[in-house]
């Protein structure tokens, strides 16, 4: 005697023996998982299930027959296992890996960092961290990111090689899953020590908080099963997938925190959930607005850098008149104008690099992007001209500088000429 269950496989009802049902489910899971990195994975899977149903119909004499595990094995033989499709793809993936492309499967903004790390075969976390850490250096990181965004073509086909990567673990998290992610990476069973470590570091001038934030910005959370497996360094194959998913489910239900631990952790959990609500909102910002936001941030960082330079140099040479004059000009310039000037500078460089990209590669840059950038350039410039034309203080400053330069350099030159 065998138990049977009914299953609806894309519109047709089948009676399936219990063990055959398990086998079928395991197989379908592995297929779903295989296509999960494809752009239209749901549609492909639907199509696939359709075909399974058709084949099942034709190998069982009529639909009222009970499907047993032999039928399912036959189906698997006809359709093939994911491993069978894989060697077909390898060539193409390798081709994609040898070119610098933005990785659309594992991205936070545009997949630039992830693409670069696929190219150099390193953990994307490292590239992201480098980008974030170079932001304070005159916005260099942001600026470099923008240029890469323009220059690198997008790819959905990158399937990065199986290697251990650092991801944030969203399934077992308190705030953002960083402590758990670190624990996974170093195969530590209990993230408690790492949480304690971060907490202790907060009392060191808030260093722990800083560190946490930097890691947060620089890392992605594991979304697909493949990424979750990479996070623990498990290799991808059908049997592994099932085992992994099962173990993971057990792991989540297993961890029952003690009461005190739970209470201590609850405010942190709240912060994490709050950001969950905020993040989808941030992601919905249109791309072009995001670009402008980035430009603006770069401008801000750049101005800070310049101001810092000038102040630092004037500390070294307190008597240098030119530096003092420059300082007065920066103080007298409206901050908004200063930012605008810098934005103009960045847009000009961006336009120039778009031009270079168009010349050097066959990547199509949308004309609308260029039009928007040029229009902004024009508008910002006219804003500055109108705004500065009526600023007496500034005119005064500029005159002073002109006089100074004339006095110091041109007069000297004239003087020399006279002597000769």
């Amino acid at each position: 005697m065998k138990k049977t269950v009914t299953a609806n496989i894309s519109g047709t009802i089948y009676n399936i023996e219990d063990d055959a049902f398990d086998l079928m489910q395991k197989y379908l899971n592995s297929i779903k998982m295989y296509f999960s990195s494809y752009e239209d994975s749901d549609e492909i899977f639907m199509d696939f299930e359709n075909r399974i149903s058709e084949n099942l119909y034709s190998i069982s004499n009529n639909a009222s027959d009970v499907i047993n595990s032999k039928h399912v094995a036959k189906i698997i033989e006809i359709m093939g296992k994911p491993e069978d499709f894989e060697d077909l793809e390898i060539e193409d993936n390798n081709k994609d890996l040898t070119k610098l492309r933005r990785d659309n499967n594992d991205r936070i903004i545009a997949g630039v960092a992830s693409g670069i790390s696929d190219y150099f075969k390193i953990d994307p976390f490292i590239t992201r961290l480098l980008f974030v850490l170079t932001i304070p250096v005159g916005g260099f990181g942001i600026f470099f990111y923008l240029i890469c965004w323009i220059a690198m073509p997008k790819s959905n086909m990158i399937q990065s090689t199986n290697r251990k990567k650092f991801y944030r673990d969203h399934d077992n998290r308190v705030i953002a899953g960083i402590a758990q992610g670190i624990a996974n990476y170093f195969s530590i069973n209990d993230p408690f020590i790492i949480r304690l470590f971060f907490l202790a570091l907060i009392f060191l001038n808030g260093f722990g908080l800083m560190l946490y934030l930097i890691i947060w910005i620089s890392s992605n959370y594991a979304k697909t099963i493949k990424q979750k497996m990479d996070m623990s360094g498990v290799k991808l194959s059908v049997d592994n997938v099932e085992k992994f998913v099962k173990e993971n489910r057990e792991k989540i239900s297993e961890i029952e925190p003690t009461k005190v631990y739970g209470i201590v952790i609850s405010p942190f959990k709240l912060v994490g959930r709050l950001f969950d609500k905020l993040f989808p909102f941030l992601m919905r910002i249109p791309k072009i607005l995001l670009i402008f936001l980035i430009i603006y941030l770069t401008a801000f960082a750049g101005i800070l850098l310049i101001a810092q330079f000038i102040i630092q140099f004037s500390l070294f040479e307190p008597n240098n008149e030119l530096l003092t004059l420059l300082q007065t000009i920066i103080v007298d310039l409206p901050p908004l104008t200063l930012t605008m000037i810098y934005i103009n500078f960045i847009i000009s460089i961006l336009l120039f690099s778009i031009f270079l990209v168009k010349l050097l590669s066959n990547k199509n840059v949308k004309n609308s992007t260029i039009v928007i950038l040029v229009v902004t350039l024009f508008m910002v410039t006219s804003f500055n001209v109108i705004n500065l034309g009526s600023n007496d203080k500034l005119e005064n400053d500029i005159e002073k500088i002109e006089d100074f330069v004339e006095d110091k350099y041109f007069l000297k030159y004239n003087y020399k000429l006279k002597i000769n």
């Binding site: 492909i44 199509d47 075909r51 058709e54 359709m79 077909l88 086909m157």
Partner: protein
């Protein structure tokens, strides 16, 4: 055994070409493509067609549309794009070239 491996490799290499060839005459949904390819015994496992179709679509060689069917759920029909037609012409000419030179090799032995 090595003979079997040779056959598999041959079919795999030609699968993309065959899919485009089949689609050049009419628009088909995936199952119809598979049936056609099965007739000419080119397929090793049916599942390989799915990632291939998706890749061809990503490269812009084929496009798809959903069409209602009388029985069951709507079906996704594939057809060749202009790019795809050009690509197929290229593939066909290089296939004919390779084929004729291999034929020469066999005849001249």
């Amino acid at each position: 055994m090595s003979n079997e491996n040779f056959k598999i490799q041959l079919r795999k290499g030609l699968l993309e070409f065959c899919i485009l060839q089949v689609l050049s005459k009419e628009k088909l949904y995936t199952s119809e493509i598979i049936v056609k390819l099965n007739e000419s015994q080119i397929i090793v496992v049916e599942g390989t067609v799915y990632p291939l179709l998706s890749r061809l679509k990503n490269k812009g060689f084929v496009d798809s549309e959903w069409i209602e069917s009388k029985q069951g759920p709507p079906r996704k029909y594939y057809h060749l794009t202009k790019n795809g037609k050009n690509y197929l012409t290229e593939l066909t000419s290089s296939y004919v070239e390779v084929n004729s030179s291999i034929q020469n090799l066999i005849n001249n032995k």
